[in-house]
């Protein structure tokens, strides 16, 4: 695998500094820690010691038990067996409050904040600043703004959380955890929704925290991040801890081998197809959040959209999908202008959208996996009025096995699945719909390396059948490697377009950021 490293690896000098710090006593130690859900043995007895001041990465497939481990360490869920030692003392950790009081904090995988409160209120939730018992609203907003500015997050502290994008919310969660004076800080896939710029900010933050003596646990599916940040890495497979390595003594292939018990030669699976006729074309499409976008998708083509958070890509595709009204411009389908006023119009034409936020837009979390997988195709599944239960089950089971969705059964609720497996449902529900154009908005958020490779292979299958794909990703290597045509968005405008791999990462980044004179670049 080529090295799609975000930036320069941490210098070897630095990792020696850290290993000096790592010689300290273990700050947190797990002994035979175990978690059993009804029907799932999510974490089998695990022994692990985190050294004070280290950055310890944890990797593993979707559903391997990483988040479960974190939830046990932060008192979110009770453990089935085992004990946890914090600074040598056994601790109960039965409530999150107890963990917080020990200085153990986490940024969880699913963003858990209060959407109805302001950013400042969320940052200070549980630790409000008061005078004479009364909340100091203004003071807290000022403080919160200062924290955000210090961290380099350009976000307003007085805004309602629900007004922020999911990536921005992730940053708030990070800011909150980072400012609580924690001694032990856990990040569960913090970069899943972040672009490279924001990720870089986050890394800087993590390093700063490490310097100030905080121990950090870092979970990610992005190998290059692990190699950039971590001092040591532990690997989980099927709820079992299969090994811990010093980062200098291992490589990506070994880790992947330990994670999935086989090796992957090639993650980005790209078969060049000859493009057929144009499926969809937008002409000067303008709507809320984007302006004057003209692009087209052909049969057999992957069109990639790259940009920073808030660049308008999601708004653009949801408008094509009929979720939001366009204000001007045209959408052409098969060369003919079409009116798409609501989602069902788009679906009828043959457009499928896997939206970016699986929690808010993608899934009915409280409902069974099977219902989620079949939701768009119940019309096909029913004869007259009645649903064929056999067909329903068959289709769900097919998707579960094809996409290797890890679930105890098709009737388990979507909420009981691990993050990555939920993401597979968001994608899987459209695969049997017979769509002609697939729009994937951040399709591999939280998906493990092995499954990513499968999803990319799936793209090829779709293309082979004559479909076209619009791929939105904030993860540059993904769009860079896969897109036949890569469009760069900046603040709602399409600022550049490139054929497959025709420019460097740096060029694209510069265009997305908007420095220099990039606007006059290669439009095709």
């Amino acid at each position: 695998m080529t090295d799609h490293d975000i930036s320069h690896r941490s210098s070897s000098g630095q990792s020696e500094d850290v290993s000096a710090a790592a010689a300290h006593l273990p700050i947190l130690e797990l002994r035979g820690l175990e978690k059993q859900y009804l029907g799932t043995h999510a974490l089998k007895p695990a022994d692990l010691a985190f050294k004070a001041g280290e950055i310890h990465a944890i990797v593993g497939e979707n559903g391997a038990g990483k988040s479960t481990l974190i939830k046990l360490l932060t008192g979110v869920i009770p453990r089935t067996a085992g004990e946890i030692l914090f600074r040598g003392e056994p601790v109960a950790l039965t409530t999150p409050l107890e963990a917080i009081q020990h200085g153990i904090n986490a940024v969880h995988q699913e963003v858990v904040l209060c959407p109805h409160l302001t950013v400042a209120a969320n940052i200070f939730l549980g630790e409000e600043q008061r005078r004479f018992g009364l909340l100091q609203h203004r003071h807290m907003i000022r403080e919160a703004q200062k924290i955000l500015d210090d961290l380099g997050f350009a976000l307003p502290a007085h805004a309602l959380l629900s007004d922020l994008t999911i990536g921005q919310q992730q940053l708030i969660a990070t800011a909150r955890a980072a400012t609580r004076g924690a001694r032990f800080l856990i990040f569960d896939e913090p970069t899943a929704y972040l672009t490279r710029e924001e990720a870089a900010q986050l890394f800087a933050l993590i390093r700063r925290l490490q310097k100030s003596g905080v121990t950090i646990v870092y979970i990610s599916h992005r190998m290059e991040e692990v190699f950039e940040l971590a001092d040591r890495v532990s690997i989980l497979r099927d709820g079992r801890l299969v090994g811990t390595r010093n980062i200098g003594e291992t490589n990506e292939n070994e880790l992947i081998g330990l994670m999935i018990n086989r090796s992957i030669e090639q993650i980005y699976h790209k078969v060049p197809f000859t493009f057929g006729k144009t499926i969809l074309e937008t002409k000067n499409l303008t709507g809320n959040g984007f302006e004057d976008i003209s692009l087209s998708v052909r049969e057999g083509e992957i069109v990639g959209l790259y940009g920073l958070i808030g660049a308008g890509r999601s708004e653009f595709v949801t408008t094509i999908f009929g979720r939001h009204p366009k204000s001007s411009g045209k959408i052409l389908w098969d060369g003919k202008e079409v009116r798409i006023e609501r989602e069902r119009d788009a679906i009828k034409l043959g457009i499928a959208l896997a939206p970016e936020s699986r929690r808010d837009q993608g899934l009915c979390l409280s409902l069974p996996v099977s219902l989620n997988l079949n939701l768009p195709i119940y019309k096909q599944l029913s004869r007259n009025v009645l649903i064929s239960h056999r067909e329903e089950a068959r289709h769900a089971d097919n998707q579960i096995s094809d996409l290797r969705i890890k679930t105890s059964s098709r009737s388990a609720s979507a909420a009981s699945l691990s993050g990555g497996n939920q993401q597979k449902i968001v994608i899987g529900k459209w695969l049997n719909h017979g769509a002609k154009l697939f729009i994937f908005d951040e399709p591999t958020v939280g998906v493990d390396v092995g499954t990513k490779a499968e999803i990319y292979r799936l793209f090829s299958t779709l293309l082979e059948n004559g479909a076209g794909i619009i791929l939105i990703s904030s993860y540059l290597p993904e769009v860079y490697e896969l897109a036949d045509t890569l469009h760069v968005f900046r603040r709602g405008h399409l600022v550049a377009s490139h054929p497959h791999k025709s420019v460097t990462h740096e060029d694209i980044l510069t265009q997305a950021l908007g420095s220099a004179s990039t606007d006059a670049s290669t439009r095709n």
Binding site: E343, L365, V385
Partner: protein, 322 residues
């Protein structure tokens, strides 16, 4: 609940397995058994008929209500619709409409009320609680205006006898529960519209993006509820032989309670057809039993409250253990 935490399997201490494992149906049977032993008159054909009759109307309301609750809404107007439609059908019959026409028109009015609720929620963006509370108030008023605060007698004997008669020993009223319950079951569990009710209740946005007609589903749910309520209005008119706008007061709460006792979640996306039926007949049994046991009617209230807590608690435990 906003409180429902998902950590299961953490209470291994409690071990009253037998009781806690009881399904709602078993709980109903236990109630029946206890009453059969405690009184001579409970387990007689006559009393069982009475019981079935008494639970029927709330049962049908509860079915309609369940559709609405599954979508995450609530329909407070059902009691008022019952009273209002009893007036309508009585008025129509008094003005010489044939029975079939009176029934169809009354049901049609139910449809209109339901559509209006859908309109208020979908188009005007009102909370379901508010729009149905408003129709509750207004419908009682309109009904009173029509009757001038009086009752309208129904002189049509076939119509009024219907609710008193049996078919093969089963009271007609209970047959109506079956008549409503079976299509309702098929609709909820075997049709795609039923699936859509759940998906809208679970996540309306995700449903939209999956091509579900969310607005249509909302219209549908409230229309079904209102039609069930107007059907109950017909049954009530037949049973009491008059149209009176103030009847069925508080039945909305009984219907909602039946539904929730039957396992429907007020947060949406959880519910069944048999649940509300069981809930309604559990409530009817408590009342019937208390009457037969000659429990003071004040104690009866106290006991009803306590039993509701106990029953729902057991049922929750059972669910959580699954």
């Amino acid at each position: 609940m906003s409180l429902e935490t998902k950590d299961t399997g953490t209470t291994p201490k409690r071990r009253f397995n037998v009781l806690f494992g009881l399904t709602l149906f078993a709980l109903l049977l236990v109630l029946w058994l206890v009453l059969s032993l405690a009184t001579d008159s409970f387990w007689t054909g006559n009393n069982i008929s009475n019981l079935l009759r008494q639970g029927s109307m709330i049962a049908i309301l509860a079915i309609g209500q369940t559709f609405v609750i599954i979508t995450g809404g609530i329909d407070l107007s059902v009691g008022a619709i019952v009273g209002f439609t009893s007036v309508i059908v009585a008025w129509l019959l008094a003005h010489g409409f044939p029975v079939w026409a009176a029934i169809l028109i009354t049901l049609g009015i139910g449809v209109c009320i339901g559509l209006f609720h859908g309109f208020g929620i979908v188009r005007l963006g009102l909370p379901p609680f508010i729009i149905t509370l408003a129709t509750l108030t207004s419908l009682r008023g309109i009904g009173l205006l029509i009757t001038n605060g009086n009752t309208i007698s129904i002189d049509n004997d076939p119509f009024t006898e219907f609710s008193r008669n049996d078919f093969a020993g089963v009271p007609n009223l209970f047959l109506m529960v079956v008549l409503v319950g079976i299509p309702a079951y098929i609709f909820l569990s075997h049709s795609r519209w039923g699936r859509y009710l759940f998906s809208v209740g679970s996540n309306a946005e995700a449903s939209r993006l999956s091509g579900v007609n969310v607005k249509g589903t909302i219209y549908l749910a409230y229309t079904l509820s209102a039609v069930c309520a107007s059907f109950v209005g017909l049954l009530l008119a037949s049973r009491i032989g008059v149209g009176n706008a103030m009847q069925a007061e508080g039945w909305e709460l009984q219907a909602i309670a039946s539904s929730v006792i039957g396992g429907t979640s007020l947060f949406g996306a959880v519910g069944s057809i048999h649940g509300p039926l069981l809930g309604a007949f559990i409530l009817a049994t408590i009342n019937n039993g208390a009457n037969l046991l000659n429990v003071n009617s004040f104690w009866q209230r106290v006991i009803t409250g306590v039993l509701i807590i106990v029953i729902v608690y057991f049922d929750q435990l059972r669910r959580r253990r699954r």
